[in-house]
Symmetry: C2
Subunit: 323 residues, 2 copies
């Protein structure tokens, strides 16, 4: 563990004092990695993330193993980490696709669940085999039952900015589905730029339109992908709007199973570097987190795509950088 | 050439209507690449950048070849591209270290020069073999003679946010040297985050302090490195301050000669993606620029580290990304 003098802490006015990072590495990250990680390694990964100070760690998914074989061990994994949720203030949300997934999650003691919707018809058809409205109808009893069981519910909304088949996604279309998810009873949204095409003005426009539709800023999380290198500047735009829940993936895990150093999700380390510099509290120890990502990269057999991980560990994650 | 529907154009209030990109790929980029590029390829690179719409292309450096062997062909290169400056509104600045470098540049017809200073004593000693004040004294006659010849002068200031030996660099220290460069007669500053450690609040604090010291915002350029993935969010902070001159390197060239996909300079393509999305005019054709970077990457034998280049050319620059 090193003590770093950098980044220098210089707050900027008008930003949240604290950000809750919703760590998606174990679920969204690992489900999109080529290599399959042993259940015990996943459990250790989640424990190490908690030790690094992350308080919301999406643990796994109860989607049918046929669709996401990387997370087929949810039933075995969750009991290995469930106790973390009893210690301190750590939450371990799990993704559930339908009532059957909810049954499995609740039976294992999950107290925070997420459903995964789409803002576009094409992605809903391809990913959920349903129309957008049919998917909302499928989520309705899931959310209602979860709420009745006093579980918290997050509503993922993918393709909020662009869609690989439909192109640019109109803000009004996103607002309609987002509002519908909130009306079902979701506690929080995760607004996903699934293909990484958003830019800051677009982010602000969507958040503003959601406010105007009655969705309060504290209920909004943002989920940016770094496909075009835009994830962190989009996050900054969201912070300026008042958003204080940001999704990120340790080491930039996930998003591209086939390219050695391509990236999908915003890397938690890159996010923490910015938030540390801005003096925004996260509770995360960047060095501990970086060590965790380097350790996991060893299990995956590929270097972390996170620029911060690479810069902080030149000898282990990439050749050294000459200044 | 493809017609892309994305990014969707959604302006954000309070940003400049137009940004001038100061393209540093041929100089700052290539001087930090391991491979040496033939002079004819460099000339073609510069021409292609101009065709892509870049209007300020730093062409080369008249530093002694002993120090920067990659640019030892400045005398041969400049005549091959000097005519570009006569067509339209393209400027081809060159770096000059001292009066002898200035003589060489002026003799070849250069009409825009840059000097390269340091905000820290350690880097001044290591890079310039002088104290900061001695380096300013060395620049004084260079700037004066360049101005007398009606050449424009840019003052690079490196280590404005952090220094690998000194750690965090106090804002007041940067302001003192920046002000001194302006007092020598520089038309513009390039405020460099040479090791990539800045965060947005720090950027705003420095720009504000410079304003208070009498440096006007139009005289400020920003030069961010992406070592920790912060370059684009720092750029956004500078744009919000009113800065409209941004340095970037085509394809993210330079900065790390030893790591295959590590990055140094902000990639021009990643910048243009954001500016296009924000509806900020640059005059740059992103597809033409991306094709240029892919072409040059072939000559360098390594893929571009720019996320946008990789995303736009999955078949040529990296394996494809599954959505």
């Amino acid at each position: 563990m090193t003590t770093r003098a950098l980044p220098m802490r210089v707050p900027a006015p008008g930003l949240p004092a604290r950000v809750r990072i919703h760590e998606v590495g174990p679920r969204d990250g690992l489900q999109n990695e080529k290599g399959t990680v042993p259940t015990e390694v996943k459990a250790q990964f989640i424990r190490r993330l908690a030790v690094a100070g992350l308080t919301t760690i999406e643990a796994t998914s109860f989607v049918h193993p046929k669709w996401v074989p990387q997370l087929a061990d949810a039933e075995a994994l969750f009991p290995l980490v469930g106790d973390i949720a009893d210690v301190g203030d750590v939450s371990l949300p799990v993704l559930v696709p339908n009532e059957r997934g909810l049954d499995r999650a609740l039976a294992l003691g999950a107290r925070s669940i997420a459903v995964f919707g789409s803002a576009t018809e094409t992605f809903a058809a391809r990913n959920l085999n349903r129309t957008v409205d049919e998917s909302l109808a499928m989520f309705a009893p899931v959310v209602a039952r979860a709420k009745a069981e006093k579980a918290s519910v997050r509503g993922y909304l993918s393709m909020c900015f662009g869609d690989p088949w439909e192109g640019a996604v109109p803000v009004a279309q996103v607002v309609r589905v987002a509002k519908a998810l909130m009306d079902l009873g979701c506690d929080e949204l995760s607004l996903g730029d699934t293909i990484g095409v958003a830019t800051p003005g677009h982010v602000t426009a969507l958040l503003t339109a959601l406010n105007e539709a009655g969705v309060a800023t504290p209920a909004m999380g943002v989920h940016f992908h770094d496909t075009y290198g835009q994830a962190l500047s989009n996050t900054l735009a969201a912070l300026r709007h008042g958003v204080s829940t940001v999704d990120a993936s340790a080491g930039g895990l996930g998003g591209c199973p086939y390219a050695e150093s391509a990236t999908g999700n915003l890397a938690t380390e890159d996010l923490v570097w910015m938030l540390d510099g801005l003096g925004i509290e996260t509770g995360v120890d960047l060095d501990e987190l970086t060590a965790t990502s380097v350790w996991l990269a060893g299990h995956l057999g590929r270097p972390s795509p996170s620029r911060t991980v690479r810069a902080l560990t030149p000898s282990t994650s990439s050749p050294s950088h000459k200044e």
